[in-house]
């Protein structure tokens, strides 16, 4: 085993860190977040130019074939900067579904567009009140000649407001298994109610009122759909674990610096052992998070059951760490961290959102337990 980065990987990390330091300082991020679309289109274009949107995409789409480790490295830096661009939705989650779906034409054209930074994508899978066990039940696709008509609601669709296309899961009328469709976000009959989420990103409830979808937009159907979704969601989850790790490392550093500079009772508060121990506990959590991320990365291409179990372990451990690190960061800062004008609270919000996206700690613990118990 070798946990050290290769020279190329090191360069990727250094490049990402430098770019984000220059373009994503805290004040810059606040300004970006304050206006629609809630992220920086300029940065997005730069990501395309820097080749970041090509990471892990297939070569025939102009991608840069590499392991998932590269994606994780980049995501760690995104987390450090609390970057707001819909990278995971587009370049990890939806791109992976497209890559593995049976629709050759959609795969080629869309993935090329992803790599070039020309489209943003979102997965519309979760349904109102469906928590994390979304099986498409309310959204129904009815056959109409060769084409389909979609009806129903999706809820809490991450990054939907700025997406050009959505990948939508739907129940095929009269059939057991769901299907996946690629739908233009501007399609007639598609309604989007957008709102901000706690971490500064945007989501939407998406309504389908007799939305016409041509047969060529069907990405997959039948029993493969579940595995297709699961695999892509696992990778997206792991990408978010890497982001959470970066965010945690960053906020621990911020807290350490604050403890050195904040003076109360005539001395830096970092001299109080009670606070030193808290900081040490945060450090322990971050160490464990990095380890479980690596464990997840080692299994990202394993067979389905094992892959999912390891991703769940990673999500669960990281979610716990995120709660501890995020809340302690606020506590150690005192009231300054309760303001929107200071970074610590934004890390807390990001880490909180992390826990609730793609299955919360309980959901992943359950999924891991089903594996661990046998």
């Amino acid at each position: 085993m070798d946990f050290n980065l290769t020279d190329e990987q090191e360069m990727l990390r250094e490049g990402a860190r430098r770019f984000l330091r220059e373009h994503y300082g805290f004040e810059q991020r606040r300004a970006i977040s304050a206006h629609l679309p809630g992220f920086s289109v300029e940065c997005w274009n730069s990501y395309a130019e820097l080749g970041w949107l090509a990471l892990g995409q297939p070569e025939d789409a102009g991608g840069w074939t590499c392991s998932f480790v590269e994606t994780a490295i980049l995501m760690e830096e995104f987390g450090r900067a609390l970057a707001l661009e819909p990278y995971v939705s587009t370049a990890v989650l939806c791109a992976r579904i497209l890559e593995r779906c049976g629709n050759v034409e959609a795969r080629r054209s869309m993935l090329t567009a992803v790599v070039e930074g020309k489209v943003r994508l979102a997965l519309a899978h979760q349904e109102p009140g469906g928590r994390y066990d979304a099986r498409p039940i309310s959204v129904v696709a009815t056959r109409s000649g060769d084409d389909f008509v979609l009806q129903g609601w999706k809820s809490g669709v991450l990054d939907a407001p700025a997406a050009d296309h959505l990948i939508v899961s739907a129940r095929l009328e009269g059939e057991e298994n769901p299907a996946l469709f690629l739908i233009d976000a501007a399609a007639p009959g598609l309604r989007m109610n957008a709102y901000p989420l706690i971490d500064g990103t945007r989501a939407a409830d998406v309504g389908f009122e007799a939305v016409q979808v041509s047969a060529s937009c069907k990405l997959a159907e039948g029993s493969v759909v579940d595995e297709l979704l699961q695999e892509a969601l696992d990778r997206a989850t792991l990408a978010r674990v890497a982001m959470a790790l970066g965010a945690m490392e960053s906020v621990v550093q911020l807290t350490a610096e604050y403890l050195q500079s904040r003076v109360q009772f005539g001395q830096p508060i970092g001299r109080f052992q009670a606070l030193q121990h808290r900081l040490a506990e945060m450090f322990v959590e971050v160490q464990e998070t990095r380890s479980i991320l690596y464990c997840g990365l080692a299994h990202v291409d394993a067979e389905a059951a094992q892959r999912s179990a390891m991703v769940s372990a990673a999500k669960y451990v990281t979610a716990n760490a995120a709660r501890i690190v995020g809340s302690q960061a606020i506590q150690l800062h005192g009231s300054i961290a309760m303001t929107a004008e200071y970074a610590a609270g934004h890390y807390y919000k990001h880490l909180f959102a992390f826990e609730k996206i793609h299955g919360d700690a309980d959901w992943h613990l359950d999924r891991f337990a089903r594996h661990a118990a046998v």
Partner: protein, 401 residues
């Protein structure tokens, strides 16, 4: 020992419950359900007036100042009913904090001038203690006041002043004797918030709220009779005020009500075809919080019943504060865990109504407000003395360390 409540308590509870049922406007209760902390100021004014008309404007004050002669247990029951109905708690800074201080140490003129409008909810108060460099180390505060003729002239800066931009009056700790030892040179002044020389800058909080403020005092003048008690005794009064309502720091009633809300959500939300509350995992999660809350409730009851505790009273109160503030965070977390992915949506201050689209309850009425309250709850272990400061107090007062 005996554990039976007094015989009249049941009837008292029924009377309180009936009064609230008749007088609490439903729209006010809804607003308070959504965002119980801090309450809407207009609602607070109105509700305080309603309670005052019934003679319940400040149950914990002596009868002669407009309070009641209720027993501690009756006050406990009263607060339970207030929260159970999503009514509004008393203004902390007014009837809970400065009111009792004025009753104990204020001049006759101050009592006459300030207590009646406080009771009626006509004047809102804020507490100007903390400063940028005097948080936990409050005694290092630097805002100073100098007697010039028969006026105090104040210079300095406060921060984290809750409600400062809506308050009519503030009670400020200021340094009046730079020569004296840090705690001895501090005095307490009553300051009208519209006085010339006051500038207030709202601070945007993590949950979007704007109830926190910076307050700049630049040559603010108040008459010498606005000094509370004696000069140099401000620290004593501040301690008295912070310790006055000893059981309040358990946030017991809020915690009980918020736990109810969490259960309500868990009954309404479904997972894998089951009510969330019926899944063993979530039931256990609720049970853990509920059991700890029961312990906290009985800690409060022990104090209310006047138990002679082995340990120093300050240490016991600090234990309540530590546990009570942590419970606020845990209960809020429980609510958001029950909400699952719905927990992530930010509802802004205006857009608090839930959306029901074409019969699909995309956003049930229990969702708005929970996230904001959850974020606010992080402050519970900071304000009123941080958790670490409370632990220091316990170590010192209970064990002499």
């Amino acid at each position: 020992m005996h554990f039976e409540p007094n015989s009249g308590d049941g009837a008292f509870r029924a009377e309180v419950r009936e009064f609230i049922r008749q007088h609490l406007p439903p729209d006010m209760a809804r607003r308070s359900y959504i965002c119980s902390q801090p309450p809407d100021i207009e609602d607070f004014r109105r509700w305080q007036g309603i309670l005052h008309d019934r003679g319940w404007g400040a149950p914990h004050w002596p009868l002669e100042y407009g309070g009641t002669d209720w027993t501690a247990m009756q006050r406990h029951i009263f607060m339970e009913e207030i929260y159970r109905a999503d009514a509004i708690d008393y203004g902390w800074q007014g009837t809970h904090m400065i009111g009792p201080v004025l009753i104990a140490f204020g001049s006759q003129a101050q009592k006459k001038r300030f207590l009646p409008p406080m009771l009626r909810g006509e004047e809102i108060w804020c507490q100007g203690f903390s400063e940028p460099n005097a948080g936990s180390d409050l005694a290092s505060l630097r805002t100073r006041a100098e007697l010039v003729g028969d006026e105090w002239v104040i210079h300095g800066q406060k921060i984290w002043t809750s409600d400062a931009s809506e308050a009519d009056w503030g009670f400020f700790l200021v340094r009046t004797d730079p020569e004296a030892k840090p705690q001895r040179g501090i005095s307490m002044l009553l300051v009208p918030m519209n006085a010339a020389g006051i500038r207030i800058r709202p601070i945007e909080a993590l949950n979007g709220g704007r109830d926190l403020n910076e307050v700049f005092l630049d040559g603010v003048r108040v008459p010498c009779e606005n000094l509370v008690g004696e000069p140099g005794k401000g620290w004593t009064y501040a301690k008295y005020l912070l310790e006055k309502e000893r059981t309040a720091s358990a946030y017991l009633y809020r915690n009980k009500r918020e736990l109810e809300k969490a259960k309500q959500i868990a009954r309404a939300e479904h997972t894998a075809g089951m009510r969330l509350i019926d899944t063993p995992e979530f039931a256990r999660k609720i049970a853990r919080v509920e059991a700890d809350l029961l312990a906290l409730e009985w800690s409060v009851l022990r104090i209310l019943a006047g138990e002679k505790n082995l340990h120093d009273a300050d240490a016991v109160v600090s234990a309540l504060k530590i546990r009570g503030s942590e419970m606020q965070q845990r209960v809020a977390e429980l609510q958001l865990d029950a909400l699952g992915p719905r927990a992530l949506r930010v509802f802004d201050q205006q857009d608090r109504s839930a959306e029901v689209i074409e019969g699909t309850p995309l956003w049930p009425s229990y969702v708005p407000g929970r996230l904001g309250q959850f974020l606010y709850a992080r402050a519970a272990t900071l304000y009123g003395g941080t958790r670490e400061v409370q632990k220091n107090i316990i170590a010192r007062r209970a064990f002499g360390l």
